[in-house]
């Protein structure tokens, strides 16, 4: 119980720079990536004219993601569809990962959501520059008056903070609540329901919110 604030770390000296690595996060992320790749190969091997159950589930997922992207991004949806589908699948698996005994959610570590949030940030701004040109892009920061420029910059940075801490806070909060409550009731009766709520329900909603917010930011920035 006393270990809820303990972070397993591994320190490496590389070219004079000290890197602190949370090896559990790295291991779990790689395991999730491997699972996704294996799943992709299994689905690819079974593509037939008349779809079987595996292919049907995969098609359902792909078409749902395609509709979602189309509704939000309209014309440029094709370019962002792979990102959206992959991000949602990855985050969903990340958030559900803690349900498997012995594994931990990589999203419990702030580094995972923060790096995905930063990726979304850079993607949004490059898309915006590409769609509008650098002049119009810079001009938007002076809306409504040029005095507001610092506030607009802070607002953009706050988006990264809110999107990544929202995911991190929910998953970390769920994990800590499960740990503490399990300790209080001696792991009797309650924990499965907590896993169902925090793992399955909150995990799904937060994966969806993260993905949707990323593409909504892109859609707003390119309009």
């Amino acid at each position: 119980m006393g270990d809820i604030t303990h972070v397993p770390t591994f320190v490496v000296e590389l070219f004079g720079i000290t890197l602190t690595v949370n090896y559990l996060t790295v291991f779990n992320t790689w395991a999730i990536m491997a699972t996704l790749i294996v799943l992709a190969f299994i689905v690819r091997g079974r593509i037939k004219e008349t779809p079987g159950p595996v292919q049907r589930v995969a098609e359902l997922y792909i078409s749902a993601m395609d509709n979602l992207t189309r509704e939000t991004l309209e014309t440029t949806s094709r370019a962002y569809f792979p990102l959206v589908a992959t991000m949602f699948a990855f985050l969903l698996l990340c958030n559900w990962w803690g349900i498997i005994p012995g594994f931990e959610e990589p999203t419990k570590d702030l580094n995972t959501p923060l790096s995905l949030g930063l990726m979304g940030f850079f993607l949004t701004h490059t898309a915006s520059i590409r769609a509008k040109g650098i002049g119009l892009y810079l001009k938007e920061y002076t809306h409504p008056f040029f005095i507001m420029a610092p506030l607009n910059v802070v607002g953009e940075l706050a988006k990264v903070v809110s999107i990544s801490f929202r995911l991190f806070g929910n998953i970390m909060g769920g994990a800590i609540i499960i740990t503490v409550v399990s300790w209080m009731v001696y792991s009797v009766a309650l924990p499965p329901f907590l896993y169902a709520f925090f793992g399955m329900f909150v995990g799904t909603v937060q994966a969806f919110v993260f993905t949707m917010l990323t593409i909504t930011y892109i859609a707003v920035a390119t309009k």
Partner: protein, 247 residues
């Protein structure tokens, strides 16, 4: 300072924290559950045929609304009975902070998550055939408007279980209590705002010409709106973390 005196002071502060958690934390949920019952009763008067449905929905909604005071009760019980040793003064400030955090969050979250439940009762009384989408939307809205509450519970747990160092100064005392205040009060607006958004999402489906078609896009927009409305509470969480872990 004398260890016996320190222990007494710390236990007194735990008691204060527990009192604030449940005392203040019960105001919102109590009002909210009353509102649920009010709209269920009104709906039964308007549409007696839906009585059994309304009764069920009222109980489900009230059950979800009673999550916040349950969390507050858990923290209060932990503060009163769970902590064996009270060795350092900083633990007392942390316990008081934990109580303030969960108390304020429970107040707001109970009020916020009762709004979709009462609107669902009213909506089902008017359009009983749409009971399924209304119930789904109510449950999703209630669960999501309790996100700030989960943040507050996280901060409270951290405050209680974070190891205390013997050489903590006045700065750390204040930082612990500030983390609780920051998270507790930071969650009030977000909770009530998300409750309002979920409530009006149900109204949106009610007023739509083809409610079955509208429920998908409305639910999606509601999810995003709720997430954005909860950004302030995310910022409060960030500041609480900074206060807790760096000072």
């Amino acid at each position: 300072m004398d260890p016996v005196a320190v222990s007494l002071i710390v236990k007194a502060m735990y008691a204060l924290g527990a009192a604030f958690a449940v005392g203040f934390g019960a105001v919102g949920p109590g009002t909210g559950m009353g509102l649920n019952a009010a709209s269920a009763v009104e709906g039964m008067g308007r549409q007696p045929g839906t009585s059994s449905d309304l009764f069920r929905i009222m109980l489900i909604g009230q059950g979800a609304t009673s999550t916040p005071p349950t969390f507050a009760l858990v923290i209060a019980i932990l503060l009163l009975f769970g902590m064996g040793d009270a060795t350092y003064l900083v633990q007392g400030f942390a316990g008081l902070g934990a109580g303030i955090s969960i108390g304020a969050a429970s107040f707001a979250s109970g009020l916020g998550s009762s709004l979709p439940a009462s609107m669902a009762c009213e909506a089902i009384a008017r359009q009983p055939h749409l009971r399924r989408p209304f119930t789904t939307l109510m449950l999703v809205g209630q669960a999501l408007s309790q996100t700030p509450l989960i943040f507050a519970l996280l901060v409270s747990f951290l405050l209680i279980f974070l190891p205390a160092s013997p050489d903590a100064g006045i700065l750390q005392y204040v930082a612990r209590i500030s983390a609780g205040i920051c998270m507790g009060f930071g969650s009030i607006g977000s909770s009530i705002g998300s409750g309002l958004a979920a409530e009006l999402a149900i109204v949106g489906i009610r007023h739509h010409r083809e409610p079955e078609k509208a429920s998908g896009p409305i639910t999606r927009t509601m999810l995003l709106g709720l997430a954005v409305a909860q950004s302030p509470s995310v910022f409060a969480l960030v500041i609480s973390f900074v206060l807790l872990l760096t000072i």
